[in-house]
């Protein structure tokens, strides 16, 4: 199997595809205590100017996190994980999480991160530092 050390600058990471559902949004609200009605109530979200309920940004970030940990396996840990939420994600959107290597040193890989929807709009961009186990 390919080791993290084999990844070169600009090489892509394995992608993760994800389709959030209303049920998952509710489960995430229950697991985290974030019951902000913009995520759970279409009418409320419309009144707040959002055209319907939106997925928690942190749930989208968690999918990028999963893409990273599936790729990292036991070879390292995430030491820095920064994202910007650029577009709203709604239940049933088809989201593709992707990334590539931006820079590397002896024990760190710097990764560029991105999530986009099926309209090819970028919904999230970010950066992660992966520290390799010595």
């Amino acid at each position: 199997m390919k080791s993290l050390l084999d990844y070169q600058v600009s090489e892509p990471l394995p992608i993760r595809e994800w389709v959030p559902s209303d049920l998952q949004v509710r489960q995430y609200a229950e697991a985290t205590g974030d019951f902000n009605p913009i995520h759970l109530d279409d009418d409320y979200a419309r009144q707040a100017g959002l055209e319907g309920a939106i997925v928690h940004g942190m749930l989208t970030m968690a999918q990028i996190g999963t893409m990273l940990t599936d790729w990292i396996g036991e070879e390292g840990t995430i030491s820095k994980f920064n994202v910007r939420f650029e577009q709203i994600v709604r239940p049933n959107d088809k989201i593709t999480c992707s990334g590539s290597i931006k820079a590397r040193s002896k024990n760190t890989l710097v990764c560029i991160l991105e999530a986009s929807n099926d309209k090819k709009e970028r919904v999230l961009s970010g950066l992660a530092y992966v520290t390799l186990k010595s």
Binding site: Y28, A31, T32, N36, M58, M61, F81, N82, R84
Partner: protein, 120 residues
């Protein structure tokens, strides 16, 4: 400082909610759940408030069973005008320490709200 115990059942529930198989590891965004905790004396303009940015730094990996203390503060509040009108930005910072007082993680959230006068 508030106590924070990384409990197995909380991590498992979180892992299931984000759609992964729980394997004793703490998902990197788990500490983001603390964003919701209230800060005494601070009232955020909740309706229509959205999450703009999230930055998490780990100084060491977090494990199930860890006992930490954390504190939250409002780091910054500012207004900016853009194509969506005037919006207010609130930066919340959460920092977690182990029981020896060593920094374990720092997490900052940028929340964006429409400015109040906009609707008037």
């Amino acid at each position: 400082m508030l106590p924070l115990k990384i409990k197995l059942e909380d991590v498992r529930r979180f892992a299931e909610a984000i759609g992964i198989r729980f394997n004793d590891r703490v998902p990197a965004t788990f500490v983001g759940t603390l964003v919701q905790a209230n800060i005494p004396g601070v009232e955020l303009p909740a309706p229509g408030m959205i999450h703009g940015e999230q930055n998490i730094t780990y100084y060491r990996p977090l494990c199930v069973g860890d006992s930490l203390n954390y504190k939250k503060c409002v780091k910054d509040v500012y207004e900016r005008s853009g194509k969506l009108g005037k919006r207010m930005f609130v930066v919340l910072e959460t920092t977690g320490y182990d029981l020896a007082g060593e920094l374990v993680f720092a997490s900052s959230s940028v929340l964006i709200a429409p400015s109040k006068e906009e609707g008037e």
